[in-house]
């Protein structure tokens, strides 16, 4: 009976409505800053704290190495130090391999899985160390030197008496070896990780000239540079940025050309950065840029080793960052942002033509829609009557004011652009259809915009793409909208006002001490490669504004052969005799 009751109760329970218990949802608890820090403190004595100071400056690093200033001579303490620093046992990537040398001396090595070449570690470190016989060595502090000098079969080994150096070495892919009784680590260069191969540049495409671009690997990038600039004075200084991600960036320059103040300033700015994670050159660039509030970029980013080499040979410095396929070049002027690496590989008349086209493209991209608005709404007397009448005929059935039409098309164009960049490659084909058909043709047929506008927007877009520098093109994209508003309100007068303000702003800008409009304002020694590119053999001097140590690039007569007689030569009218 009771059983039946239970069954019935269970049955009715199933039929009846029952309020479901509410599931608990996750929330992130707030952490009181003081207690949070206190909690985080013991977790990473060196990983956070030590490295932070490291990031703050090379000069200060040694005095600021907190906690463990020196390496203990006891292996257990060192084991404890390493495992605590790397949050063992939660952290599964760090591998600590303990072993005993010749059955008497305890030792261990630590590395991060995935960053090292394991085969190299086994064959060149582990095997020779383990094959030591007991009579071969003496115990004591000197033992690590003996092992470094006589046992390890790896070219790059460094002795380090600083625990935070050891931690940083391990983070960078080195293998740290510690032997009991010693007061330092042996850091062996065993790095090997997956990286992209050198490929053709993706942004800066050119027709004539080298077709290789930087990759994400810093060493590869510096090597690419050294390959085409073989000079002992090509210096690459490595600095660490980001106190949590501890990333390296290289400042590359030619020591006997560049003005030392530039290097000093670059290093000062990079070293002073107190940011936990600096990832990519874009972030670093923003952190060290002079004109942080300016639309126009005051630094040049390039992904081409050849262009970088050309720039550092002119007396500029390149900043290359680990994990970023771009080099930042400073100092630059507005004119260098309008140059394309192709210019130097072409004969100079071609380059001049290209530069004029680029200047035109700059004006088209920035001003064309604004000019159209100004002319059609304020200055109609400026248009040839025939063109005016055909514009009117085309606009006859369009219900919107010209400004709205322009904004409509500009916004659609920006949408297409952004969608084109973000769209997965597989569906990329659809974009052309949407853009060309729907927004272009259909909008005109539906009398939403007038056909002249399509031409304006297309020319503007083309102009924007013809600007060689991506950042500058971006600035122009935004400026275009400012010009549109100015011209919609004030016509040509508005455009002029904005132009004057813009020119004033640009003229007052500086890029690492170099006036941004220099060679034009302030006037300096004539540059043979500012806007117009003269023949290569005329470009004898380095840019005056850079104040390089060596101002001359070429001898006054760089093509000596023009002043010499050829071995087998003849004069006009001479007999062959």
């Amino acid at each position: 009976m009771k059983k039946k009751d239970n069954f019935l109760a269970a049955f009715f329970k199933k039929l009846a409505y029952k309020k479901k218990p509410k599931a608990k949802s996750f929330y992130i608890p707030e952490i009181n800053e003081h207690s949070g820090n206190a909690g985080a403190g013991p977790q990473d004595p060196a990983g956070g704290g030590g490295a932070k100071k490291e990031g703050k400056g090379q000069g200060k690093r040694s005095q600021k190495a907190s906690g463990a200033a020196a390496v203990s001579t006891d292996i257990n303490e060192n084991l404890e130090f390493i495992s605590q620093s790397f949050n063992l046992p939660e952290n599964a990537d760090i591998i600590i391999r303990q072993f005993t040398i010749a059955g008497e001396v305890r030792a261990f090595m630590a590395y991060i899985d995935g960053l090292v070449n394991k085969q190299l570690v086994s064959i060149s470190i582990l095997r020779p160390v383990l094959s030591l016989k007991s009579g071969d060595f003496e115990r004591g502090k000197k033992l690590i030197d003996f092992i470094i000098n006589n046992v390890i079969e790896i070219s790059g080994v460094k002795k380090s008496a600083n625990p935070s150096d050891a931690i940083y070495g391990i983070l960078a892919g080195k293998t740290a070896l510690y032997v009991d009784g010693c007061d330092s680590y042996a850091l062996c260069e065993t790095q090997m990780f997956e990286k992209r191969a050198v490929e053709t540049p993706r942004v800066e495409n050119i027709v004539r000239g080298p077709q290789e671009g930087f990759t994400e690997d810093l060493k590869t990038n510096v090597a690419l540079l050294r390959r085409i600039f073989r000079n002992k004075n090509l210096v690459s200084e490595y600095l660490n940025v980001g106190y949590r991600n501890n990333i390296q960036c290289a400042v590359v320059y030619v020591k006997d050309i560049i003005n030392p103040a530039i290097v000093k300033e670059i290093k000062r700015r990079i070293n002073s950065i107190d940011v936990d994670a600096v990832i990519g050159d874009g972030v670093l660039g923003q952190l060290i840029e002079d004109e942080a509030w300016s639309l126009v970029p005051t630094m040049l980013t390039t992904e081409r080793p050849d262009r970088t080499a050309y720039c550092i040979a002119e007396g500029r410095a390149a900043i290359i960052m680990e994990g970023s396929p771009f080099a930042i070049i400073v100092p630059v002027t507005l004119f260098s942002l309008l140059h394309s690496p192709e210019d130097f590989f072409l004969k100079w008349p071609f380059a001049i033509l290209l530069r004029f086209i680029r200047l035109l493209s700059l004006f088209l991209a920035a001003l064309l829609p604004a000019l159209y608005i100004a002319i059609t709404t304020f200055h109609r007397e400026m248009i040839p009557t025939d063109l005016l009448i055909s514009i009117i005929k085309a606009k006859e059935n369009v219900p919107f004011p010209t400004v709205l039409e322009i904004l409509l098309m500009e916004v659609s164009f920006e949408l297409i652009r952004e969608a084109g960049v973000r769209m997965p490659g597989i569906v990329g084909q659809t974009l052309g259809i949407i853009g060309a058909l729907i927004l272009g043709q259909a909008a005109v047929q539906a009398n939403v915009v007038s056909p002249v506008l399509i031409i304006i927007i297309a020319a503007t877009g083309l102009g924007n793409f013809a600007i060689p520098n991506f950042d500058l093109a971006f600035a122009v994209r935004i400026l275009r909208f400012i010009f549109i508003f100015a011209s919609a309100v004030l016509g040509f007068y508005g455009i002029t006002l904005v132009l004057v303000a813009l020119t004033g702003a640009i003229a007052s800008m500086k890029s690492f001490g170099v006036p941004f409009l220099s060679t034009a304002a302030p006037r300096v020694r004539k540059s043979f490669d500012s806007f117009i590119m003269w023949p290569i053999w005329k470009q004898e001097m380095r840019p005056d504004v850079l104040n390089p140590l060596d101002t001359r690039k070429q001898a006054p007569i760089s093509r000596k052969w023009t002043k010499e007689d050829p071995d087998s030569g003849y004069r006009k009218g001479e007999d062959d005799a």
Binding site: R380, I389, I391, K393, E396, L490, Y493
Partner: protein, 442 residues
């Protein structure tokens, strides 16, 4: 920067932006299709008001008449159907007439019926009827020149008869664009040298100047009655002198530009015919290129066609003896032979010399007559001799006291024309037909 400072700066920036917006041109902004752009404006004598104004403006319909996408074969737009003509539609344009107290007010009167705002910013042609021109056009010119919206490149034309009729005949037969037709029509002056090209500001300047008198193009309607029927004349007649409306012509646009209207103090005092206009343009440095034929001295009854150029710009020298001005006009021309009968070998160097002298005498004679007509009959210095004459006076007050306008008719003008025949066309030797003649010619 402190918060207060930032606030002050923001306020200043806002003031700068807003003041430029509020005091800006926003109220003057107009969409292109909100305006009707007048292409031709005519001024006639009014009956019930001060001035009768006729305007011609485009219809903004796709395609012109008779062609284009919609026109097809004689659609309602094509051929100028009667129903459309009623509304004053003339080949893609509307012609409408109104009377008003002033020209600018007449524009407002027009806008009581025209939906688009009338704008004079693209006006091509200002047509003044001859009767109005003879009464004086100072106030009309002032209205047009002073009014800010008027186009500065409007061409002034005096038309024989009524301006309204002239504009109604201003049809677009070639192509679809009335404005293009007007522009090109005006530019014909440079190709043919049969009528001058004078813009309104230039006319205004010349009229007010104490150095010269003004002139402008003369035009009229050809009603196609001059092409006489009947037997051909037994002897060839060469005629170069025509006034507008007199050309023996059939078909095409009825309005024609021919000759020069001479003004003195904003008042039209006379006209120059086609040949005189060519000579006038030659003297006043306005001549670009043009053909002129002279009678063949070796073969009377035949013409030698010449193409004239300046070899040097005309040199004008003015000297005074007492109060009398002596004007030396030196004109150096070069000519190409365009066509001739070819009876005698004009290409030979001595013959060429002779031909040059002959052309010189013809041009000099015509020019003297023309200058005399302008000087004695019209008493207007349209050549700008006064410009040079003024150089003989030390101050402008002395010059004004001298009163060039009244003294000019007394001046003595010497004309010296030099012509060099430079090129003989694509034929470099000619001789009469027949063996004997050939030998003789050698």
């Amino acid at each position: 920067m402190s918060v207060k400072m930032a606030k002050v700066l923001a306020l200043l920036a806002m003031a700068a932006v807003l003041s430029s917006i509020f005091t800006g041109c926003l109220s003057d902004a107009l969409e292109v299709d909100d305006e009707a752009f007048v292409l031709v404006l005519g001024i006639d004598e009014a009956v019930g008001n001060a001035v009768r104004v006729t305007i011609q403006y485009p219809t903004y319909k796709r395609g012109g008449s008779g062609s284009g996408i919609l026109g097809g074969g004689g659609g309602d737009e094509g051929g100028g159907g009667v129903s459309r003509r009623e509304f004053g539609e003339v080949d893609g344009t509307i012609v409408t007439t109104i009377e008003g107290p002033t020209i600018v007010e007449a524009m407002d009167f027009f806008n009581t019926s025209i939906s688009r705002r009338i704008s004079l910013a693209h006006i091509k042609l200002l047509v003044v009827s001859e009767s109005v021109a003879k009464q004086g056009i100072r106030d009309y010119i002032d209205q047009m020149v002073r009014f800010m919206e008027t186009s500065r490149i409007v061409q002034l034309v005096v038309c024989k008869g009524k301006a309204e009729d002239f504009i109604r005949e201003n049809v677009t037969l070639t192509g679809e664009s009335p404005s293009k037709n007007m522009e090109l029509m005006i530019l014909q002056s440079e190709n043919i040298g049969l009528f001058p090209r004078v813009t309104l500001p230039q006319f205004e300047r010349d009229s007010k100047s104490p150095l010269r008198s003004s002139y402008t193009a003369y035009a009229g309607i050809n009603d196609f009655q001059n092409l006489a029927d009947g037997p051909a004349a037994s002897e060839k007649v060469f005629k170069w002198r025509y006034f507008p409306g007199e050309l023996p012509r059939q078909g095409g646009v009825k309005r024609e530009f021919l000759g020069t209207a001479v003004f003195r103090d904003y008042r039209m005092v006379g006209v120059l015919d086609s040949l005189e206009t060519t000579f006038f343009l030659l003297v006043s440095r306005k001549f670009q290129k043009g053909f002129l034929s002279v009678e063949d001295m070796d073969a009377p009854g035949h013409a030698i066609l010449l193409r004239l150029y300046y070899e040097d710009s005309p040199k004008i020298g003015v000297k005074f003896q007492g109060d009398k001005a002596f004007i030396d006009l030196k004109l150096k021309l070069s000519a190409d032979i365009g066509a001739m009968r070819g009876e005698s070998n004009y290409e030979r160097i001595d013959k060429l010399e002779k031909l040059s002298r002959h052309i010189e005498s013809v041009i000099e004679e015509g020019m003297k007559k023309m200058i005399e007509k302008v000087q004695k009959e019209f008493k207007a210095d349209i050549f700008g001799f006064g410009q040079k004459a003024a150089g003989n006076f030390l101050t402008i007050q002395e010059w004004e006291k001298y009163d060039w306008d009244s003294r000019f008719p007394e001046a003595e003008i010497n004309v010296d024309v030099t012509v060099d025949v430079r090129r003989t066309g694509l034929i470099f030797k000619s001789h009469p037909l027949g063996i004997n003649a050939t030998q003789e010619n050698r």
